[in-house]
Symmetry: C2
Subunit: 453 residues, 2 copies
C-alpha cells in the first residue's frame, strides 16, 4: 500500500538529521527562535492564561516539560497545550503562504515539550520540527482553498503536523506514523466562526492541535491504530472538509522540495492577509511622501481569502479583532509606519485610527487572487485628498523568503515580544537565545528559561 | 440575540431538576445504569487500555474522579476521557434513532467525573445528563444525514453534548453556556474513515468528545469565549460539515419534547444499523421454524445510512469490525438466536458464520429509507434452500422506546457486561447498582466502585 498518506507517513517517520540540507536546518533554527518569542508574547493574554489555568487544574503539578509563560513544569501534553495557546495570540508567529498555515505554534510547542520529556538532542528536536513543517504544510496545501473558507487550517492541518513532529521524536516506524496521522486527522478541528464575535477560539485551536496531535503519536507508539487514509480516503478529511483537495500535493517533492524554507516570518502584528496591502501602502506613502491626512480613500486589491477572513470585521471591538481589520491595520501603518503589538494595544481604537479605518476598503483582484496562495501580492489604490490617484505594489511582503528577516532582526523581534509581555528579562532572554541559536550542538534539550526571571 | 444556538444554550444552562417530568427522570436513571454496564465492558479492550495508559502517563496520579475500568482516581478531565473511551467499545451503549447519536458515552462519562469532582448531588447529575442528551440529540438532528455520511455524529455532536452536561453542572449562565458550545463545536471532530481498516478511532472519538467538551465548559466558566453561532453561523459546523442542516431542529420542542426519552437501548452487541434486520430475521425464522441450514439467501432491505456505514465491511478481520458486518450479525442471530458479546468473541470467524455471512446482502429500500432516521424498520427477504421466499418485518427493534427493556433487563445486561470484562464481581456490581438506582436521592455522588473488587 503506497497511498499518499502512507508515503507522507513514511517520510515523516524516516526523516533523519543528516538527510536535511544545511540551509533547511538553519532556517529551522530561525523559525525556532522566532517561535520562542511568540510563545513568550502570550503571557498575560486572558485567553491564554485561561487555558493555562485549566491545564494546571486538571494536569499534573510537575513534570519534565516547561510551560514558558509561567515557568512551571508539567507533563508534555499540557506543556504542548499551553505553549501552543500562547504562541499564536500575538499574531507574530510564522506562516507558510501556499498552505495558509502557521506551522511554528503547532509544531514547536509539542516538539519542545516532548524533546524535554525524552531528553532528546537539539538535532532530534530540529529534525522533528522539519517533519512537522513538511507534513503540516502539505496537508494544508492538499485541503485547499475550499477548506480554508470555513476551517482554520492551523487547527486542522496543525493536528497532523503536531503528530508528525512528536511521532518523529518518538521514533515511530512508518506504519505507526500512518496510524498517528489517522488518529490526529480524526480529531482535526477548528472553525472560523469565532471571528464574527472576536471570540477566543484561535488560542483553543492551536492548543487543541498540539495536544491532540501529541496524543495521537503517543497512542500510535503504544499500538493504537488509526485510519490508513485519513487524508484522501472516501470518508476522510478531504471528503468531509474540502471540495478541492488534491492528493498529489501530499507527496510533491518529499525529500527534495523543503517546504520549511518557504515559511515566512511575520513582521506586522496582524493577520497575514493584511500584510501585502500594508507593505504596499507603506511603499506608496514613502514614494509620494504622504501623511495620514493626505489619504482620502484606500482601496486594497486582494484575494478572495482575505475577504473571507477579514470581511466580517468592520467595527473591531478588541485588540485581537482589530488585527483582522484591514482598515485598522492600514490606519496604524499610515500613522506609525508599522503595526506592531504596541501600536495595536495603544491605538487600535483611537479616533484617528477609526477615521482612517473607514476610508479603507477591500476589492477582489483577479491577478492577486490568481497568484495566491503561492504569492501574496500587495496592491493598493490611494486617492489623496487633493485628488491624485496613486498605485502601490509589493510582490513579496517583508518576512517572505525573498524579503526575509536576518538573524539579528529575529533576535530583536524575540526580545521585543518578551519585553512586551514581561515574560522574561533581557538577561534571561539572552541566555535562552544563546542556547537556542546553538541548539544543533545540544546533546539534550533542557529548560529554556532557568529560574532567573 | 435569540439565535438557535443561543436558545439551545439558554435551555441547557437553565434546566433544573424540578422542571423535568418524572418519566424523563426515570428514563435517565435507566440510561445511567445502562451506561455504567457499557463503561465496565470496556475493561481489557486494547484500544481502551491504550488510552487509559496515555491518560495515566500525562495526567495526575490522583484526583476526585473515578476511572471505572481501573478504579484509579484522577482529575475529571482524564476520568471523562477514559470512561468515554471504555463505554463505546462493546457496542452496547444506547442510541437515539433520529439523530443516529450515542448519547450515554459522551454525556455520562464527563457528567459523572465532574459530579464527583464537585460533590454534586444525584439530582444535579441527572439534570446535567438530560441537558447533555437534549443538546446532543438536537445537534445530531440538525447536522443531518449528509453529516453522518462522513462524520461520526457521536464524536461531533458529542462534543457539544459533553459541554452542555458539564456546563449545567458548573452552573454556567446562558451566555457562558453559549461560549461553551462555541468552544466545543470548534473542537468537534470524528471521521468514519477508520472503519475501512478496522482501526481504533471510535474509542478515540468518544474520549475526545468527552474531554474536549468538558474543557470547553470549564473554560467558559472562567471567562473564555467561543463563537456565538457555532452551529448555524456562516463559518460554523453546518457550513463546514453538512449540506442539509436544518436550524429549526436545534430548538424544536425545547422543554416540551424530551428527546431523552426517545433513546433506545441496544440489545444486540453490534452496530445499531444491523439491529432492525437482525430482529426481522429472528422473526421470520421463528415464524417458520427455520434452522441456519435452511437459509439459502437473506436480503436485508435497508436505509442508505446502513449501506454507508456497513457497506465496506465485507470480510471482517476483528471482533470489533465484525460488529459492523451485516452478514456476521445475521449469521450469529441465525445460529444462536442473539448476537451478544460472547457470540461475537467466540464465533465471529467460525466457518459456519463465514458461510452464512456470504449469503447475506443489503439492498436499498425506499420505505425503510424514507422512515429513517425517525423509525428504524427491519425488513428481510429469506430464500430457503427448498425454494421458499419468506418475508420478515419488525417496525420497532428490541430496545426502542415502544419495545424497551425493563429495569430487570437493564440490570441483567449491566451484570452481564461487567462479568464479560471482569471489571467487577457480582457483589461489587450489586452495591454499585443499588447506589445508581437510588441516585436521585443521593446528596453527593460518590465513587461507584468501592475498593472491593
Amino acid at each position: 500500500m503506497n497511498s499518499p498518506t502512507a508515503q507522507l507517513a513514511a517520510f515523516a517517520a524516516g526523516l533523519r538529521f543528516d538527510a536535511i540540507p544545511g540551509p533547511v536546518i538553519r532556517k529551522t533554527e530561525d523559525l525556532l527562535v522566532d517561535w520562542f518569542g511568540s510563545a513568550l508574547a502570550g503571557k498575560g493574554s486572558r485567553a491564554v492564561e485561561t487555558i493555562a489555568r485549566f491545564a494546571a487544574s486538571v494536569g499534573p503539578a510537575d513534570g519534565p516539560s516547561e510551560v514558558l509563560i509561567s515557568r512551571s513544569r508539567t507533563s508534555a501534553y499540557f506543556a504542548a497545550m499551553v505553549n501552543a495557546a500562547a504562541s499564536h495570540v500575538a499574531e507574530q508567529d510564522d506562516v507558510h503562504n501556499g498552505s495558509v498555515f502557521h506551522p511554528a505554534t503547532v509544531v514547536f510547542s509539542p516538539a519542545l515539550a516532548v524533546a524535554q520529556a525524552l531528553g532528546a538532542s537539539g538535532q532530534q528536536l530540529l529534525t522533528a520540527a522539519v517533519a512537522g513543517y513538511e507534513v503540516g504544510i502539505r496537508v494544508g496545501e492538499f485541503l485547499g482553498r475550499s477548506h480554508y473558507k470555513v476551517f482554520h487550517t492551523t487547527g486542522t492541518a496543525g493536528t497532523l503536523a503536531a503528530a508528525a513532529a512528536v511521532g518523529n521524536l518518538l521514533g515511530l516506524d512508518a506504519p505507526q506514523m500512518q496510524h498517528a496521522l489517522g488518529s490526529a486527522g480524526t480529531q482535526s478541528a477548528g472553525l472560523w466562526e469565532f471571528l464574527r464575535t472576536a471570540a477566543d477560539s484561535k488560542q483553543l485551536h492551536t492548543a487543541h492541535a498540539a495536544s491532540a496531535g501529541l496524543m495521537a503519536a503517543y497512542l500510535a507508539k503504544d499500538g493504537f491504530t488509526g485510519a490508513a487514509q485519513i487524508l484522501e480516503g472516501p470518508q476522510g478529511m478531504a471528503a468531509g472538509m474540502s471540495s478541492d483537495a488534491d492528493p498529489a500535493r501530499l507527496t510533491q517533492g518529499l525529500g527534495t522540495r523543503w517546504a520549511t524554507t518557504e515559511t515566512s516570518f511575520k513582521y506586522h502584528a496582524s493577520c497575514r492577509h493584511t500584510h501585502p496591502a500594508a507593505d504596499a501602502l507603506l511603499q506608496v506613502m514613502q514614494a509620494h511622501d504622504l501623511q495620514p491626512g493626505d489619504l482620502a480613500r484606500v482601496v486594497t486589491h486582494v484575494h478572495q481569502g482575505a475577504i473571507d477572513v477579514l470581511g466580517s470585521v468592520t467595527n473591531p471591538a478588541t485588540v485581537h479583532q482589530s488585527k483582522f481589520s484591514m482598515g485598522t491595520v492600514l490606519a496604524l501603518i499610515a500613522c506609525f509606519g508599522h503595526a506592531g503589538l504596541a501600536e495595536f494595544d495603544q491605538h487600535f481604537d483611537d479616533a484617528a485610527t477609526r477615521d482612517l479605518r473607514e476610508r479603507v476598503s477591500m476589492a477582489f483582484d483577479a491577478e492577486v487572487d490568481g497568484a495566491y496562495p503561492q504569492r501574496w501580492i500587495g496592491k493598493v489604490t490611494v486617492t489623496t485628498t487633493d485628488g491624485r490617484v496613486l498605485q502601490g505594489r509589493v510582490d513579496e511582503p517583508k518576512g517572505d523568503p525573498g524579503n526575509t528577516l536576518s538573524r539579528d532582526e529575529i533576535t530583536a523581534k524575540a526580545l521585543r515580544l518578551a519585553a512586551y509581555s514581561g515574560a522574561a528579562t533581557p538577561a534571561a532572554m539572552q541566555a535562552a537565545l544563546d542556547d537556542l541559536w546553538a541548539v544543533a550542538r545540544s546533546v539534550r534539550v533542557g529548560l529554556l528559561l532557568k529560574n532567573a526571571t
